[in-house]
């Protein structure tokens, strides 16, 4: 029988939540790396027992942990992320030049085919790759060297590269997103990159339609349709049908189009999930009601999903890497909150239950569907 393993990164450690395919009863293990910030952990699609975790601390810096047994045991691997050449400057919050400095790893994206290959998105924004299971890391410097780097600015959470999407049909094509630079695409395995932000409008930059500078919060893609991308921007939910060459707004009837995560149903490429947040000034759900919104039409028409979610006095946030879907039938949807709850739906969002309610603030949620 199928099983699911939910990997949860929090402000104070990592947790692993496991259930059978019914997704009714859960075993909770952890905290792993207690007391450390775990920005992200993710399993290899090529070997589900191979996991990678980003562990960091304001005191002791960045570590990368690797598991080869599905998270039961871990070993620290390489933690040296050195930019190629002299990193130069990006824009600071006030528009002045600011030196590029490594701060932390936000996102780890294992290769679709090789468990020893993994990409890392870091702050200050850059993309690194390891081909030896995390022992050593090399920057794919063509991204930071694209030429627009001096115009990139940090978002409120820092200048982070938080989204990495690999095209399952073309190993040379990768999409990434940076707050606040925007989305970029490579067609040559990371040697060269182009910004893909046409159609985005952002009022926080002098030219709202500039080529770069947009605060993209998250991008999602269904693996069967790599040319269709969905984006939750700082404000606006967007869609591209041409691999990011152009974007159109699909916020439609959402109560607010600010938010962080976005994800796609495992079996229905036009079914998309977002979690609206009131505004960039008030990071909690509108009307104090925690609602996931689902569109079955690829955007514009959205329905609120509320069954099992708090519908009063709720002031949590859901961060950009904190929603994921499994590939069971029916599709499971999961998200974690800054209040420490991890909610799961085993019926594609129709109803929800909290797997756990009192974890530290949740930074990331990933799901593995296991045979």
């Amino acid at each position: 029988m199928s099983r699911v393993r939910v990997l949860v990164g929090t402000r104070k450690g990592a947790f692993v939540l496991e259930s059978d395919g019914k997704r009714e009863r859960w075993d909770v293990s952890g905290p792993y790396f207690g007391g450390w910030e775990i920005y992200h952990l993710k399993g290899s699609p090529a070997d589900p027992d191979r996991l990678y975790a980003s562990q960091c601390s304001g005191w002791f810096g960045q570590l990368i942990q690797r598991s080869s047994d599905g998270g039961k045991t871990w070993e620290p691997v390489g933690n040296q992320f050195t930019y190629v050449g002299v990193p130069g400057t990006h824009q600071w919050y006030d528009g002045t030049p600011h030196p590029w400095e490594f701060k932390r790893v936000w996102h780890l994206e294992p290769s679709l085919t090789d468990p020893d290959v993994v990409l890392a998105g870091i702050e200050d924004a850059a993309l690194f790759r390891s081909t030896d299971g995390g022992a050593t890391w090399q920057e794919l410097a063509g991204l930071r060297g694209h030429g627009s780097g001096p115009a990139w600015t940090p978002g409120a959470g820092g200048m982070c590269l938080h989204t990495i999407i690999q095209d399952p049909h073309n190993p040379n094509r990768i999409f990434i997103a940076i707050s606040a630079a925007g989305a970029f695409r490579t067609a040559d395995g990371g040697k060269s990159w182009q910004p893909i932000n046409r159609g985005l409008r952002s009022q926080h930059i002098p030219d709202p339609t500039a080529e770069v500078g947009h605060c993209v919060h998250r991008i999602a893609m269904h693996p069967t349709r790599p040319n269709v991308l969905f984006m939750q921007k700082h404000w606006d939910v967007m869609r591209s049908d041409d691999s990011g060459d152009s974007w159109e707004e699909v916020s439609g009837n959402l109560p607010t189009d600010f938010g962080f995560p976005i994800d796609v149903h495992a079996h229905e490429p036009e079914t998309v999930y977002v979690i609206p947040i009131k505004s960039d000034s008030e990071h909690y759900p509108p009307d104090a009601k925690l609602r996931v919104y689902r569109s079955r039409s690829g955007g514009n028409e959205w329905e609120p999903l509320t069954k099992g979610l708090p519908q009063r006095d709720c002031y949590v946030n859901v961060l950009r890497d904190a929603m994921a879907t499994d590939s069971l039938d029916a599709c499971g949807v999961y998200f974690g909150t800054t209040g420490g709850q991890v909610y799961a739906s085993a019926d594609a969002g129709d109803s929800w239950n909290a797997i756990v309610r009192d974890l530290p603030p949740v930074l990331s949620v990933e799901v593995q569907t296991l045979a």
């Binding site: 601390s57 304001g58 002791f60 810096g61 570590l63 933690n79």
Partner: protein, 98 residues
């Protein structure tokens, strides 16, 4: 042997209980002690000193013999009591927050 006391999170990372003892050849300095520590416990690389520059991380402090040695040159000799193993070299996570 040089005795080193690590903060909780680094003891956990290095999988050690209590003090760590390392053999150091030549002058006993912050640099030589930390080099020996990182050679014996490579998972600590980058957690006390930055990679490449080997500068002390900003929220880490070095104490010994009731002195704050955080701002001493890396190649300055440590107190005799540390060199003789009578006193430990303390790696401390700076107090931050309430």
């Amino acid at each position: 042997m040089i005795r080193i006391v690590l903060p909780y999170h680094l003891r956990t990372l290095a999988r050690v209980d209590g003090e760590v003892a390392v053999a150091v050849e030549g002058p006993i300095t912050q640099r030589s002690v930390l080099d020996a520590l990182e050679a014996g416990y490579p998972m600590l690389r980058g957690t006390i000193r930055e990679h490449v520059t080997l500068r002390r991380r900003p929220f880490v402090r070095f104490f010994a013999c009731e002195q704050d040695l955080s701002h001493e040159p890396a190649d300055a000799l440590l107190p005799d009591a540390v060199a003789k193993g009578a006193e430990p070299f303390l790696v401390v996570g700076a107090t931050a927050g309430g």
